[in-house]
Symmetry: C2
Subunit: 170 residues, 2 copies
DNA sequence: GATATATAGTTTCAGATGAAACTTTTGGCC
DNA sequence: GGCCAAAAGTTTCATCTGAAACTATATATC
């Protein structure tokens, strides 16, 4: 004889049916896209820079000279993006490329004088934007946020190892 | 006679030259992309759903029936994305579309029976992923995070009004 | 009730994207 | 030295994306 209820497919109650607005990945995605879009617009209009291009400048300014791969690792961009950003910035003369004498597959990238100038102009603007975002947060709030983002990074690491995410070196 | 130092272009010191790794918009972007990519992979492999498609299902399940515009408003997706997601889900029979009798420009979208089934399967998976992300956070940490994201949303609102960001209705 | 303006949704087009293939060079390994 | 696997970057190709143009309908103004 057929059993009742226990073996039936469970009828999901509302607890199992997620509410998009409270779903953390969704909230992060909407927030981050909103911010990135606004920033991209500013960089584009004022400096003709895309976000990948700006990241390249920022990271070369801070850690350069670097190989393309070094850039990819530090920016979480894949090598195709880096390659394209490098090409455009070379054309514009904002970076310089040399070949590594010891390993001729590898390039050596660094900011040109003009690139350094651009970085010095863009960076304060970026910091202004960040300040605007954070106006409503107290000093301790900011420290909290920093800590919590760190924890989320760790959680995301479980989900998807960093090197599989994007910063592929091959 | 030319003045010295005071009128010269300021030489930016390191304080003005941002460090990408500490720059909030960058951190949010990397974190969010990492999570979204991982989730997109799961949805795609297990259910053949893109993220826009899943968002449509989630929001229709929770608030449906809705017009395409209603969906756009609640998901922060632009109307082109919504339109495309609608088409694919109609093809797959996961949603149904009727015309609004009172306003024949407007469509009325809702989940089909099969759509409801899919939602009931995907939602717990999504919640599992979220739980994974949050394992390292205590109950109070989670409340803090919620609050801080709310503040950031407000800050982002200053940067870029919601309706200009993406959920354009026209 | 004709004309103008706005809205819902779709289509078009030009650019962005990333996985996979490819080229070149390097580093074993025999 | 010769051969094979791996790494650095680039190119290709198929897909995704969103701004702008477009279609159809509705609303406002006269």
């Amino acid at each position: 004889m057929k059993q009742i209820s226990d073996t039936q497919a469970p009828v999901p109650d509302d607890r199992d049916l997620l509410d998009l607005e409270r779903f953390l990945p969704y909230r992060l995605s909407v927030l981050s896209n909103r911010i990135s879009t606004a920033i991209a617009r500013v960089y584009e209009q004022r400096f003709g820079l895309s976000i990948p291009e700006w990241r390249l400048i920022a990271v070369l300014g801070r850690f350069g000279p670097l190989s393309a791969n070094g850039v990819a690792e530090r920016t979480y961009m894949d090598k195709v993006r880096v390659s394209r950003a490098v090409q455009r910035l070379l054309q514009r003369g904002l970076i310089e490329r040399a070949m590594d004498g010891a390993d001729r597959r590898r390039s050596i990238l660094q900011l040109s004088a003009e690139g350094r100038t651009i970085r010095a102009e863009v960076a304060p603007l970026a910091l202004d934007i960040e300040r605007g975002l954070l106006t409503a947060l107290s000093r301790t709030d900011r420290a909290e946020l920093d800590r919590l983002l760190g924890l989320l990074d760790a959680g995301a690491g479980q989900l998807m190892p960093v090197d599989e995410a994007s910063a592929k070196s091959s």
